[in-house]
């Protein structure tokens, strides 16, 4: 077993464990902290996939900005461990788990294993240069590629998001 594979299994264990803890915890603050763990592990995955820029953006945007927003709202609404949010009994959870497991078998079996991927086109150069800021910037701002238009549209989307969040959160007079 080579070291990359060993590292992959360690990271996979931590990421699946923290994801399960997000779902299983009753306290939303703990769920949020396990989600931060999961985001950091995914950033490490991106590093092993030679996507350095995406890994840094993952830490800054997800583990930084989005999780701060989550924790801020949890503490603002004072949701320690409210009684009213206890899970109901009944068939909902078992049925959901059975459906989700069949979904997992479908996507992992049909999509990734049985159909088979074409042979990898990755070269040593593409692995080394793959995720550098320079390559991303050239792809993002090249007028010949579709990403430039999407980038401009994203700026409008973020503007609408900022205005919408202020309008929603503003206290009505």
């Amino acid at each position: 077993m080579n070291w990359e594979l060993l590292f992959f299994w360690m990271l996979a264990t931590v990421s699946i464990g923290s994801a399960l803890a997000v779902v299983a915890n009753k306290n939303p603050v703990r769920s949020a902290l396990f989600l931060v763990t999961n985001f950091f592990v995914l950033a490490l995955f991106y590093l092993t996939l030679s996507a350095q820029f995406v890994a840094l953006v993952q830490v800054i945007v997800y583990a930084g900005a989005i999780m701060v927003l989550f924790l801020f709202v949890i503490m603002l609404l004072n949701l320690g461990a409210p009684e009213s949010l206890r899970e109901r009994g009944g068939l909902q959870a078992p049925v959901a788990i059975v459906l989700a497991l069949s979904f997992l078998i479908a996507i992992s079996g049909a999509g990734a294993i049985s159909s088979g991927l074409p042979k990898s086109a990755a070269t040593a150069a593409s692995l080394e240069k793959g995720g550098e800021v320079e390559a991303i910037g050239h792809a993002l701002f090249n007028p010949g590629l579709p990403w430039l238009f999407a980038f401009e549209v994203t700026s409008i989307l973020l503007l609408v998001g900022v205005v919408g969040a202020i309008v929603l959160a503003k206290r009505r007079a």
């Binding site: 990421s15 996939l49 709202v73 949701l79 990734a112």
Partner: protein, 102 residues
């Protein structure tokens, strides 16, 4: 030759996505449901990056960057909606919030 096969990353991504689906289906707290949606978005991002490496192409990472931008906007709006609903209804139990009006 790739040190870790791409299929491993795809199956891991499927497992993480499924855990997110389970959370969305069984949780009562809309904030935790939001976290599970983030889990699902991250699982898809992982498969994008893994396939981008597999094909030696930058496009996988470009998609991830746009998914992150949309996720940031979505979280800001969604948490704003949750705060607004909590202010008017004094509860965030997802079973009692069955009307968007009022």
């Amino acid at each position: 030759m790739l040190p870790v096969p791409t299929e491993y990353y795809l199956v891991l991504s499927g497992v993480l996505f499924t855990i997110g689906v389970i959370g969305v289906l069984i949780k009562r707290n809309p904030i935790v449901i939001f976290m599970c949606i983030e889990l699902m978005l991250n699982a898809v991002n992982l498969s994008f990056v893994a396939l981008g490496r597999h094909f030696g192409h930058i496009n996988g990472q470009m998609y991830v960057i746009f998914v992150m931008a949309v996720a940031a906007a979505e979280v800001a709006i969604g948490l704003g909606i949750i705060v607004a609903v909590f202010r008017t209804r004094e509860t965030i139990n997802i079973d009692e919030i069955n009307l968007l009006k009022y």
